[in-house]
């Protein structure tokens, strides 16, 4: 293993080192107020971190194996629980892959509604990340404000889908419920409230000189390293790489909407937090565009609604609540496979579904953004002081249930 950075990556940092007697080993274990659902084996020499070994797998729920044992339509609520704070983006990937396999396309109105819920979830997920970053520095005001303001967006999502967190909104063929009448005014009120609050967040947290001194220059991830290690999400964009799966894949209604990808060049913790705040602003502008440009039409694919009896079809058209045809209970996956990539709040999620002619998928592979970001715990930490550990952890927005699946 070369230790030089000729490939863009310092290899000696990828391997966890054991060390001799002068190394002080601390287990920031699962029984710790701020370790999340995982364990870190931190090796210190004095106050400087020598190596960190992230020991994940404490909340491994064997979702890939479970998905092989049940019908593919049931995999949607199953996989939603991976990242429950961002549940629409998680399942949207699976639904897109299934639509490719089943050769069905969602109507335009459904595509726009998918964007709407995706952006609401993205804001909610970023607020969660901001709150956790705040409490890692013991800044309880940021924590309480972020989680209190998340309530606004969760209630908006409840208006749209009927559930606060477990939406299960997208299905192969479209979405399940139509937008209610009073939704645009409520969304506008929420956006105006959030714009005021974002200014408060900047004042008390990101422009607070004390917080800046904890975040500036800490945990720097260079552009070449970020690209080489396959980092995703705001962590990648804060290091100067302009990549977003919404642009790369062009799914749902994103090709018709205008939005910017916020970027920073520094790659330190402050840059990552600033990128998240900017992304909240971009998501709010996207929600406004969607509400303005929402086309009329059905929300569920014609291929499936024509299998419903005519009375139910009319009911679906009137109430805006979709009923599934009987075939959904035993949707057969043809031979073949499909991939899809979707941008979640935490980064890009990847699905690869292999069908073998039965109702259950032969293999369902999912790589979550947190699983791709785990390597940063081992890579970024050496050389920093021990108290930088929670600062870097908070800024990476790592979500253990998502990393473990």
């Amino acid at each position: 293993m070369s230790t030089s950075s000729e490939n863009g990556v310092v290899y000696s940092r990828l391997i966890a080192k054991e060390g001799d007697e002068s190394i002080y080993e601390l287990f920031i274990g699962p029984q710790h107020p701020s370790s999340g659902h995982m364990r870190f084996i931190v090796r210190l020499e004095g106050d400087i971190i020598v190596s960190v070994d992230p020991d994940i797998g404490y909340v491994h729920r064997t979702m890939e194996k479970l998905a092989e044992g049940r019908e593919v339509i049931k995999a949607i609520p199953l996989l939603e629980r991976m990242t429950i704070i961002d549940s629409h983006n998680v399942t949207l990937g699976l639904v897109l892959a299934l639509e490719k396999l089943l050769d069905v396309e969602a109507p335009p109105r459904a595509q726009y509604l998918r964007v709407l819920l995706s952006e609401i979830n993205r804001i909610s997920s970023h607020l969660y990340g901001l709150g956790i970053a705040g409490i890692m520095l013991n800044h309880s005001t940021m924590f309480m404000w972020a989680f209190g303001d998340r309530e606004v967006w969760i209630q908006l999502a409840e208006d749209l889908t009927g559930a606060r967190l477990t939406h299960t909104y997208s299905v192969p063929g479209g979405v399940r419920r139509d937008m209610p009448q009073a939704f645009p005014e409520r969304a506008e009120k929420a956006i105006r409230y959030m714009e005021r609050r974002l200014k408060d967040y900047m004042e008390i947290f990101l422009d607070n000189p004390q917080v800046r001194s904890r975040y500036e220059g800490v945990g720097v991830l260079k552009k070449s390293e970020a690209s080489r290690l396959g980092i995703v999400g705001p962590n990648l964009r804060a290091s100067g790489v302009k990549y977003d799966a919404r642009l790369a894949e062009g799914y749902a209604a994103y090709p018709d909407l205008e939005f910017e990808i916020p970027m920073r060049e520094d790659g330190d913790c402050l840059a990552r937090m600033q990128v998240r705040v900017e992304e909240i602003r971009q998501s709010m502008s996207l929600i406004r565009q969607v509400i303005k440009k929402l086309p009329q039409g059905p929300i569920f694919a014609e291929k499936y609604t024509r299998l419903l009896p005519p009375a139910i079809r009319q009911q679906v058209a009137q109430t805006g609540q979709v009923k599934f045809p009987g075939i959904f209970a035993s949707l057969k996956l043809p031979e073949g496979d499909a991939v899809s990539r979707v941008e979640m709040g935490h980064g890009e999620i990847f699905y690869h579904v292999t069908g073998a002619g039965s109702t259950k998928p032969y293999r369902l592979r999912v790589v979550t953004p947190s699983f791709r970001n785990v390597i940063l715990f081992r890579y970024l930490m050496p050389g920093h002081r021990f108290m930088d550990f929670p600062a870097i952890y908070g800024s990476l927005d790592y979500f253990p249930p998502e990393g473990d699946r």
């Binding site: 601390l26 005001t141 309480m144 607070n208 002081r385 108290m387």
Partner: protein, 343 residues
């Protein structure tokens, strides 16, 4: 044989209780007032932080009063909790250290005057005596961390040692600057010499003493010793029961003593004296001193809603590179003001 009547006994008892040597350290501003302040200030901290953070804070214990007696409920809970001594801990220091810390936090009240002429131990050196006693509290915290035999506790004890190095010199030099300015190290005379509050006479010393006070009491942004996000309550991690309650309250007691000294040195102590109260009983005239120090404590606990935590080396660097030179400048300013005969 002299006949002892009831009246004589009661007068004798009253004389003892109302003498400064007993009243000041035990009742006001000593032990009982300190415990009541502990009760109210922790409740106030939680309520103030809650109001800033869009929530309600403690509410249910005495609902009509807004949950004021919450800490009494917490204290009662701690009383009934089992005090567990781990097998691997060093038993005698484990039990003795928090008690020692509490005692050392109460002893400074023997030197702090609360009204003109009303001080338990009248001494020319009350200021250095109080500061010396307060600076021994970190030793007992370190003993707590060592006796716990736990990696996180030892990390906390080491952090306490480092923080002690950061703020001790700053606090001492700022107090010394005021001592030079007033020409006396006696706290009682320091109040009488303040024709303007010390805050306006030597603002630099006031500022550095304030920051040193926040560092010493371990309040945000300097609550590094009990850093919950890294070392899980630091030296107090193995403690349970009432000892844990004492440990948590220790920081506030230290803060109380330091704010009393701050009010005496910088906010002109118990002035203006309410003469009617003074003629009833001298100890009661210290009410203004108490109000000033309480308001100062409220401001310091409000800082919790604004700041995060500093890193250990940042706090050390701030203490030595910024505040120590500033306090030296404060000493020079005091010398200059004396020479120019302002005081």
């Amino acid at each position: 044989m002299r006949v002892m009547n009831i009246e004589g006994i009661i007068t004798w008892l009253l004389k003892i209780v109302l003498s400064p040597q007993v009243f000041a350290p035990i009742v006001f501003p000593g032990l009982l007032t300190a415990l009541m302040v502990l009760l109210i200030i922790i409740w106030a901290e939680r309520k103030i932080a809650a109001r800033v953070q869009m929530r309600v804070g403690p509410l249910y214990v005495t609902r009509r009063l807004g949950g004021v007696l919450q800490m009494l409920a917490d204290g009662a809970r701690y009383m009934f909790q089992e005090f567990i001594i781990p097998d691997s801990a060093d038993k005698t220091p484990f039990v003795v250290a928090p008690v020692m810390a509490l005692t050392l936090a109460i002893v400074p009240f023997a030197f702090i005057p609360s009204a003109p002429g009303f001080v338990p131990i009248k001494s020319q050196y009350s200021l250095p005596a109080v500061l010396a006693l307060i600076s021994t509290i970190p030793l007992s915290v370190m003993l707590m961390g060592w006796a716990s035999n736990n990696k996180f506790a030892i990390q906390g004890a080491v952090r306490e040692a480092f923080m002690g190095l950061a703020y001790e010199a700053v606090v001492f030099l700022s107090a010394l600057a005021m001592g030079l300015l007033y020409g006396t190290l006696d706290l009682e005379e320091a109040v009488t010499k303040q024709w303007l509050p010390g805050l306006l006479l030597n603002p630099i010393a006031a500022f550095t003493f304030f920051v040193g006070m926040v560092m010493s009491a371990g309040k945000l942004p300097f609550d590094i010793v009990e850093g919950e996000q890294e070392i899980v309550a630091g030296p107090y991690v193995e403690y349970s029961g009432i000892i844990f309650g004492i440990g948590m309250g220790l920081a506030y007691l230290k803060l109380y003593s330091l704010t009393l000294i701050y009010s005496i040195l910088f906010l002109s102590g118990w002035n203006p004296v309410i003469t009617p109260l003074y003629s009833i009983y001298p100890g009661l005239a210290g009410i203004f001193l108490f109000i000033k120090s309480f308001l100062l404590m409220l401001f310091i606990v409000f800082l919790r809603a604004v700041y995060g935590r500093y890193r250990l080396d940042q706090a050390l660097r701030a203490g030595w590179r910024v505040y120590l030179p500033l306090s030296l400048i404060a000493v020079l300013l005091s010398i200059f003001l004396r020479v120019v005969n302002i005081v």
